[in-house]
């Protein structure tokens, strides 16, 4: 982090380790429509100290964000908050008035929200979003504010800050947006910074940069509360870790204690569920036996040859953007081909070309030995059921009018026999992706991102395909569920010889799943080969950079240099 002289001066920590924010016995509940209060978070206690970082980890829905929002008085409508102590320096937050809260938010506590990509007003310029905190707290005149905005953007390492400040969030990449959001949260040098999932949905390279940024802030005396469901992310930054599940703090200790010697079985499961090089060929979840799929027969492996054969694929979009440039690969029966690459590198486009949902400008795809990309849609239709797909954005891939059940039934189609057979099949599919029966009648819109993704997987499995194209199929899942799904996919592959085209930006997942890996950058395949070869001995400089920025759990001691 490049700092101006003035900031460097203020960054000399006056009293390191001083408690900035203190939480004791925090309980949060929500009063529902029925008037009953549901407890969400119970008995959370921690201290945020200057120059220190406390991390909260835990699965989705465990109450991490609720806890964080409570610290700025924005728990939500109908919230009931109870705490033995809730103080920010000398201020008792429990009795703060609306106006006092407004004075605290942004100025004393900076908050980086979970949904980073949509947390900046898409219609306003990035510069004015960042300046808003200054304006609200009456810091300086317009010209001064503008200068300050540029300083801030520079400090969060946004290149070309002048230009970025004039752009709107939509014109910025995810990583830049995340950094702009951080800039707006720290505009007033808050003594406490809360970062809720600051790296989810970011490429590994960008993720590493954001973590470095937080590290720098910590080094300059901010007290940081970091929230993540990803242990490998917090491993580098946190001094203390709270592990939460379903609103309870299961474990609370220093980072090395928690990671090295987890006391609670849940923590242990969490650690072991993180996929990576060391998990290859292993089941991630400790539990159950592989579930055989009774609706499937093992395809005869006779007539072996690549199930997918892509040759010289080129796709150019309007405006001349070359999204896919001369991509060729084969996927063999029973094999997983992983595709990695930063956002926009052409992974999804490649997948869509393979699926013939997009017409290639050049090149050809053959599928299961048949002409595919050159055939008519009518001819393709009969083959389509043998190819499954999990779309990157599952929500929009569901008809919003349809319930989960109807979506699955529609996919199962007529070939599953009568009504009761279809019902049974739906239930089995839901069980396979570890979804409760109750989601059957729900609409995807009302489900969580992870649940939606699992329904998308269930739908892809519904036609008993031989090939499945999975585009970021597990990105919205927290590690424990992700582990189950990855295990399921592995089981099916071993049992029935399925082939996967597996797209992910998560190198750990790719390494865990893939037999072979394709590395893409700007539409071009920069490297292609055996997974271990690529990960252990990357040949191309880009691949090396990619793998270099990978944060793993294996070296938890190597956390930021502040302390």
């Amino acid at each position: 982090m490049t700092l101006t002289a003035q900031e460097t001066a203020s960054a000399v920590i006056p009293d390191a380790d001083a408690v900035r924010l203190s939480v004791r016995g925090l309980d949060v509940g929500f009063t529902g429509r029925d008037g009953r209060t549901r407890s969400i978070v119970r008995d959370v206690s921690f201290d945020l100290r200057a120059g220190r970082c406390v991390a909260i980890v835990g699965e989705s829905g465990s109450g991490k964000s609720v806890t964080a929002r409570t610290l700025v008085g924005l728990t939500g409508e109908g919230a009931v908050v109870d705490a033995a102590e809730l103080t920010l320096g000398d201020v008792d937050l429990a009795s703060a008035t609306r106006a006092e809260w407004r004075g605290i938010r942004g100025r004393r506590i900076g908050f980086i929200q979970q949904d980073a990509l949509v947390s900046l007003d898409p219609l306003r310029r990035v510069g004015s979003e960042i300046a808003e905190a200054l304006r609200l707290h009456r810091r300086g005149r317009r010209a001064h504010r503008r200068r300050r905005v540029l300083d801030l953007l520079t400090s969060v390492e946004v290149p070309l800050p002048e230009r970025r400040a004039r752009q709107r969030p939509g014109e910025l990449s995810g990583g830049l947006r995340q950094r702009a959001l951080i800039a707006s949260a720290i505009a007033l040098d808050p003594e406490v910074v809360i970062a809720d999932e600051p790296t989810t949905a970011l490429d590994v390279t960008v993720q590493a940069q954001v973590l470095a940024l937080l590290e720098d802030m910590k080094a300059h005396g901010s007290a940081i509360l970091l929230i993540s469901h990803d242990l490998s992310v917090v491993a580098h930054l946190a001094d203390e870790i709270l592990v939460m599940r379903a609103g309870d703090v299961l474990e609370h200790g220093t980072t090395s204690e928690v990671l090295r010697a987890p006391r609670h079985p849940y923590t242990r499961a969490l650690i072991s569920a993180v996929p990576g090089a060391h998990t290859r060929g292993r089941r991630l979840a400790p539990q159950q036996e592989p579930a055989p799929d009774p609706h499937r027969v093992r395809p005869d492996t006779a007539g072996d040859g690549p199930v997918v054969q892509a040759r010289g694929l080129v796709k150019r979009f309007r405006g001349g953007l070359l999204a896919v440039d001369d991509v060729s690969f084969d996927v063999h029966r029973g094999e997983t081909l992983g595709i990695v690459g930063e956002s926009g590198s052409g992974k999804s486009t490649t997948a869509r070309l393979v699926l013939a949902l997009e017409k290639a400008d050049a090149g050809e795809v053959r599928l299961l030995g048949h002409a595919w990309s050159t055939a008519s849609e009518r001819a393709r239709r009969s083959l389509r059921r043998r190819v499954g797909v999990v779309h990157q954005d599952p929500l929009s891939s569901f008809d919003p009018r349809w319930s989960t059940e109807r979506i699955l039934q529609d996919a199962i189609g007529a070939d599953a026999g009568g009504r009761s057979a279809r019902d049974r099949r739906v239930r089995d599919l839901l069980a396979q992706v570890a979804l409760p029966e109750s989601v059957r009648t729900r609409h995807p819109l009302t489900l969580s991102g992870g649940q939606r993704q699992r329904i998308a997987i269930a739908r892809a499995l519904a036609t008993s395909p031989e090939i499945i194209v999975l585009d970021e199929a597990v990105s919205a899942l927290d590690v424990s569920v992700q582990a189950q799904i990855l295990d399921l996919l592995g089981d099916l592959q071993r049992e029935y010889g399925l082939s996967y085209l597996f797209i992910s930006h998560d190198l750990g997942v790719i390494h865990h799943m893939s037999d072979r890996v394709l590395v893409m950058k700007d539409g071009v395949v920069v490297e292609q080969g055996d997974a271990d070869r690529i990960f252990l001995h990357p040949a191309h400089p880009y691949t090396r950079e990619l793998i270099g920025s990978l944060t793993t759990l294996e070296n938890p001691d190597d956390n930021g240099g502040a302390s």
Binding site: Q114, S119, L120, D121, L123, R124, E132, A133, S184
Partner: protein
């Protein structure tokens, strides 16, 4: 879709042509109507009586020739001469369209003010207030213009004497007509904007603005409103484009001049050049209004392109 000048021209040509030929379907003979209007009688006429009128306006030419003449005139910017007023149609429209546009703009402004205040105050509040807010939207959207206008007139002009009953062209005279036009429009816009407003209120960037220390009202006005107004802009374009039809009753109640009245009279008297001319100009207003809407759209939401 109308951004291309070709599209705009097609629309103008289409409107002119449709209007020209649709009028052929009007009952009776045009010359007879012209003569009857001049006498205030309604009866059939003898050929001798009609001859001068037919000769005067060339009504005996084949219809396609008349159409070609009309289009030719249109290309030269000549909208023809009124059969009844003997004046160039351009003058007639220039006079009346201005009055209608002033009223429409004032009405739209009133609608915006009312709508913004009402939606900002009531959207996304407690269920009771929300129900009140959207209930009132629906209610006023269904107010017949005549009904509302006469009510305002009786209360505010006759009984309270705050405004004139029969106004001229001063700004105060515009208040009641503008409200009559604006209140139902505000209800319409409110219905559409409210949904968007409540949707936008739930977006993460709103929470993020709160986390910077923004006040509720400040956030509603500076962040949320902008996300919610697009449908109202569309409606504004529509209201501007349909001012000729929409304002006619208001103009009648408050005895203001206007293009709607002129159109009604011209259709009644089969004054073909006036009718067609009005339609062409109204279509032009519509086209321009749409272009403006597109521009404003892009100003408000720069993500929208072409």
């Amino acid at each position: 879709m109308l951004s291309a000048p070709v599209g705009a021209l097609t629309v103008l040509w289409g409107a002119a042509t449709a209007t020209f030929f649709a009028q052929l379907a009007l009952p009776g003979d045009r010359a007879t109507t012209i003569l009857n209007i001049r006498t205030g009688q309604a009866q059939a006429r003898t050929p001798e009586e009609l001859a001068p009128i037919i000769a005067q306006f060339g009504l005996d030419h084949p219809i396609l020739v008349q159409y070609a003449d009309y289009l030719g005139g249109l290309l030269r910017g000549d909208l023809g001469t009124s059969f009844q007023q003997f004046r160039p149609v351009r003058d007639i429209i220039a006079e009346q369209l201005g009055a209608t546009l002033v009223l429409a703009v004032a009405g739209i402004a009133a609608a915006w003010i009312l709508m913004v205040v009402w939606v900002t105050l009531t959207a996304g509040r407690t269920p009771r207030i929300r129900a009140l807010g959207s209930g009132l939207d629906t209610l006023v959207a269904g107010l017949p213009h005549y009904w509302l206008g006469i009510l305002l007139l009786l209360v505010f002009a006759l009984h309270l004497g705050w405004f004139p009953v029969i106004g001229g062209s001063s700004p105060a005279d515009l208040v009641l007509p503008a409200l009559t036009l604006g209140i139902p429009l505000a209800g319409f816009m409110g219905q559409a904007v409210r949904t968007e407003f409540e949707h936008a209120l739930e977006q993460p960037f709103v929470l993020s603005a709160r986390m910077r220390g923004g006040s509720d009202l400040g956030i509603r006005l500076s962040h949320v409103l902008r996300h919610a107004v697009l449908p109202a802009i569309t409606l504004t374009g529509w209201a501007l484009g349909s001012a000729a039809s929409g304002a006619v009753i208001v103009e009648s109640v408050f005895s203001r001049p206007g293009i709607g009245q002129t159109l009604v009279a011209a259709v009644g008297s089969q004054d073909l050049p006036v009718v067609t001319g009005i339609v062409v100009l109204v279509a032009l207003v519509y086209v321009i209004a749409n272009l403006l809407v597109d521009v404003v759209y892009r100003l408000i939401d720069p993500r929208i392109t072409a």
